[in-house]
Amino acid sequence: MYWFREPVSSNRADVESIGLSDVLKSLGGVGEGMERELLFDSATWLVWSAPLVGVLAAGLSRRRDPVIEDTRILRHDMPARITHWTHGIGTMMLLISGIALGLFFTPTLVGGGEPVWTWMNVHFVFVTMFLFGTFYYGANTLISPKRFGEHLPTKNAVDYTKRHYGLLLGFKKFTFPPEAKYFESEKMAYLMAFASTVLIIITGLLKVAAHAIDMPAWILAVATPVHDISTVAMLAFFVAHVFFAAVIPVSWPVLRSMFSGYVSREYAEKDHAGWIAKIEGRPVTDDAK
């Protein structure tokens, strides 16, 4: 015997897609007689669109390579800054909302019902931002693989990192290494961020797909803990990155460049001698050798 019923808004199979204005409305309070939407359920299309918009934006963007302009150097062109801040703010808010939801399980940080739906909707909004930023970066990297290479550690990774931070900590025996555009320590951290981002996106999209299709339970039984563990790795990277790239004063010139695009030539020659040499087409010289 089958029982039939007309579609209702809360049903996953029949839920009607909603627009951006509904998304924004849903984040606010619940109006009289209006049940709050679970955006992962009703606006799933935005999750699929965000990466594609990122790819499209990369195709339409024009990149600028670093260039010396008198006393300043272009370090981050506009696409790089957009990538960084959409990915970064997205990551921060996903960590906050994800941890709030995760600690819903033990101990209770968010109460049941409405608070859970609110945080899930916050998570949704920043999922779209995060996906846009990440795929914007990914597509830009595929267009120009050399940008990916700039982030990968070299054979100097351990030596440079030891000398760089040894000097910062006051060990006089070290000399500052001719770091490239990115410090070797940043490059090693990049690998962890890259791996956790890939895992978070794959498992996250699987979790979102469960809102649209009938996913096998075993896939979600794997995806959920992998998503959680990857989040812990991302949290470790995020905290370290914010500390080393924004909190300590020596990083402030680069932090400013993430808004303006430029660093001073003086700073670059001191902290990124290898990068300057590369831009000028000179061989990299290392005082320690």
């Binding site: 019923r5 499209l56 033990t106 267009i143 120009s144 996913m215 039984a221 959920t224």
Partner: protein
């Protein structure tokens, strides 16, 4: 403005940048086109959920409020005796008088299950392998508690399992890892088996969809009738 990224070619006459523009544009177009097709061209879907092949019926007038059924339910499903983990709820009003002092709240396995409809991920579903009993797959539960809110009855026949961190509901003992009896609509139910007052029974017939349909007279034809305590 310097742009060195248009040199690489992935195919004849197509740069990487043009390729990405094409992929992104086509993808966005497909998503938006799919929305239009789904929203304006395809008819609304109608949800069809097969009826459960089993239901619990209770006779509150026989219930002594011993809560053995709750302990049994928790024990066979979770391996521990915990009122909070029981899927059948016995509530008592110490100020009330018989027969309004005890209330038995069993899941009705609704023909139109609002809890199943409310679930955004399909975790709450009609289990085709177990007589279409409405049940929760913990691996797919995201903890949104929509099902708990959706249950129209008080107390909600959906519960939040604070130990395993997922919603749960009566599955007619289809999944009882701590009980060596065959459960589900074709087997036994722990609460039915353990109730010392025989105040709970099982039926394969879909009850009339009202409180009277699920709360029945289990006294007539028993010794209760001899004592004049039947309906």
């Amino acid at each position: 403005m310097v742009d060195n990224d248009t040199k690489d070619v992935v195919g004849q006459g197509i740069s990487r940048r043009q390729f990405m523009t094409g992929v992104g544009g086509a993808g966005v177009g497909m998503v938006l086109g799919g929305l239009v097709v789904k929203g304006f061209i395809l008819p609304d879907e109608v949800l069809a959920i097969p009826a459960s092949e089993g239901y619990l019926l209770v006779d509150t007038k026989k219930c002594s409020g011993c809560t053995t059924c709750m302990m049994a339910c928790s024990l066979v499903h979770e391996g521990r005796s915990d009122y909070s983990l029981s899927r059948i709820q016995i509530t008592q009003n110490p100020m009330g008088r018989f027969p309004d002092d005890i209330f038995m709240a069993q899941c009705r396995q609704c023909p139109y299950p609002p809890c199943v409809e409310a679930c955004p991920t399909g975790a709450n579903h009609a289990d085709a392998e177990n007589g279409n009993v409405r049940t929760v797959d913990p691996a797919k539960c995201i903890g949104c508690e929509r099902c708990i809110q959706a249950c129209p009855y008080t107390p909600s026949r959906m519960q939040w399992n604070a130990i395993d961190k997922n919603a749960q509901k009566c599955d007619l003992c289809a999944n009882t890892p701590y009980w060596d009896e065959e459960g589900g609509p074709g087997g036994k139910q722990a609460c039915v088996e353990m109730c010392p007052m025989h105040a709970i029974t099982f039926t394969t017939q879909t009850p009339v969809q009202s409180t009277d349909g699920y709360e029945v007279d289990l006294r007539t034809g028993t010794s209760w009738e001899l004592l004049g305590l039947s309906a």
